[in-house]
């Protein structure tokens, strides 16, 4: 059932990027360089991942898996805050702590409580790395959106926050509305995905399983599990990073450290 692609097949698909290039040239969008760079990175990054995973899957070595998992987590944490407009103190550390705790926790719950150790004990890398990657990729988005919203809210609502503090409000009472908005924003994309999943598009994992010959019912079961672990990971990661940032920006003297929020000077492209 499964049809392996040749390098020529991949090259033909890659040529589709010429459509993007033609549109960019035709409408003078000026995206050609970025398109070339993005295409190059897509090929190089995925090829490298393929090579690394070949090795990791072949060896099933725990140390190697741990190293790869840590590297994926760190890159996700850094990427999550890389494009956040308002820089906050210890943002990268907060992002790392949040994405690490949330993603590793839900991945562990999935592997031990949902799938069960027996199913993957002989080839752990086949399960740990893909599940962790899925959770990281989505939690990263939640953290990024949550942090962006938090910075925006705190910047725009300084007067309101300090007014509440001035009237005897605690730091939590002053920050609560901004925190709620930030967490809500971080969780909206996954909630939207859950509403339309299967109706608008078939998710990647399910598509992959269908292509490899798994029955649709089995593929759906996996996809349901994945949607819920992604939702849990995103919720935990977003609330964790927003609360850590809140504690850095509101000290125990119930003061709002507004000056600690800095605008990002450079917003380079990917």
């Amino acid at each position: 059932m499964f049809h392996a692609l040749s390098y020529l097949d991949v090259a033909i698909a890659a040529c589709l990027v010429l459509i993007n290039a033609a549109i960019s040239l035709g409408l003078q969008l000026g995206l050609e360089k970025r398109l070339a760079w993005a295409s190059f990175r897509t090929i190089v990054q995925l090829s490298l991942v393929g090579l690394v995973l070949e090795k990791v899957f072949a060896l099933q070595n725990w140390l190697l898996m741990l190293g790869l998992a840590l590297m994926m987590t760190t890159v996700a944490a850094w990427s999550a805050v890389g494009r956040v407009e308002h820089k906050m103190p210890l943002m990268k550390i907060n992002s790392l702590l949040s994405i690490f705790a949330s993603s590793w926790f839900v991945t562990a719950v999935t592997l031990f409580a949902v799938i069960g150790h027996d199913a993957w004990k002989d080839h752990p890398a086949h399960y740990i790395i893909p599940f962790l990657g899925l959770v990281l990729g989505n939690t990263l988005n939640g953290i990024s959106l949550g942090m962006d919203k938090l910075g925006d809210q705190l910047k725009r609502r300084r007067g309101e926050i300090e007014m509440i503090l001035s009237l005897g409000g605690t730091r939590w009472e002053a920050a609560r509305s901004a925190v709620q908005n930030a967490v809500r924003t971080g969780m909206i994309p996954i909630l939207n995905s859950m509403l339309v999943v299967g109706l608008v598009s078939l998710p990647g994992v399910m598509t992959g399983q269908l292509l490899s010959g798994t029955s649709p019912i089995e593929a759906v079961k996996y996809q349901i599990v994945i949607m819920f672990i992604i939702a849990a990971g995103t919720a935990l990661g977003t609330i964790s990073v927003v609360l850590l940032s809140y504690r850095r920006l509101f000290n125990t003297s119930h003061q709002f450290l507004y000056d600690e929020i800095r605008d990002s000077n450079s917003r380079s492209g990917s």
Binding site: G159, E162, L165, S166, G168, G169, T170, E173, Q255
Partner: protein
């Protein structure tokens, strides 16, 4: 030892920027019950910063004693409900004027306080506003109306020391008088236990509302006039 009528005492108050530049330095101030202070000085002298520091809204160095003892971090919300700062640029929350006036009562610190409807309607009337003012959307308020809301919102929680930062800058002269009268009445209701500090550029306002004056220049005390 502070005298029994001493409300707030600051010694050698100092505030610097992150780079170490002096914003406030060597501020000594004792505010006693019944006193009406005005803080004057040129733009950038540090008047608002001093008021914010007295409200413990910013971190500053030096000694601050409330009724003779330092304020612990956990006591700061309670302290601010007694030493209440009215900002120059009044912030309002989304909703109506009434939502804004009820805001302090929703805070843990004031959850036992009740909604003083009669007093609020009286304050509105004095500002030439009828009951419909309470239903107005806060986003439609003018700068002067926001300053009215700011004063009423603070008086609801019955503070001990009011810190008023250019509180009447957007009001017409009639409303300025009402604003000052309301503060005077609030002060005289319990003058043995209340005081007010105004920050202002206006010498006329200072002459009307203050009997003690602190002048600042470059973040330092220039003179204190009793």
């Amino acid at each position: 030892m502070a005298s029994p009528d001493t409300l707030l005492e600051v010694r050698n108050l100092e505030r610097r920027t992150r780079d170490g530049d002096v914003l406030l330095a060597g501020i000594d101030l004792t505010i006693r019950a019944g006193e009406r202070w005005a803080i004057g000085g040129p733009t950038g002298a540090g008047k608002s910063l001093l008021l914010r520091s007295l409200a413990l809204l910013d971190h500053s160095e030096g000694e601050l004693l409330w009724r003779g003892r330092p304020v612990q971090p956990s006591e700061i919300p309670a302290y601010r409900s007694k030493v209440t700062y009215l900002a120059q640029n009044v912030a309002v929350i989304d909703g109506t004027v009434e939502d804004n006036l009820r805001l302090p009562l929703s805070l843990k610190q004031h959850h036992e306080a009740s909604w003083p409807e009669d007093r609020i309607l009286d304050w509105c009337r004095r500002f030439q506003k009828d009951r419909s003012f309470l239903s107005r959307d806060s986003s439609d308020l003018s700068g002067g109306e926001r300053q009215m809301v700011s004063l009423m919102r603070a008086l609801i929680i019955e503070p001990t020391l009011l810190l008023v930062d250019e509180g009447t800058s957007a009001l017409d002269s009639k409303s300025v008088n009402v604003f000052e009268d309301m503060i005077d009445e609030w002060l005289h209701q319990q003058s043995e236990d209340r005081a007010v500090v105004w920050v202002t550029h206006s010498q006329e306002l200072t002459d009307r509302v203050a009997d003690r004056i602190l002048s600042l220049e470059g973040g330092r005390m220039r003179e204190t006039v009793a």
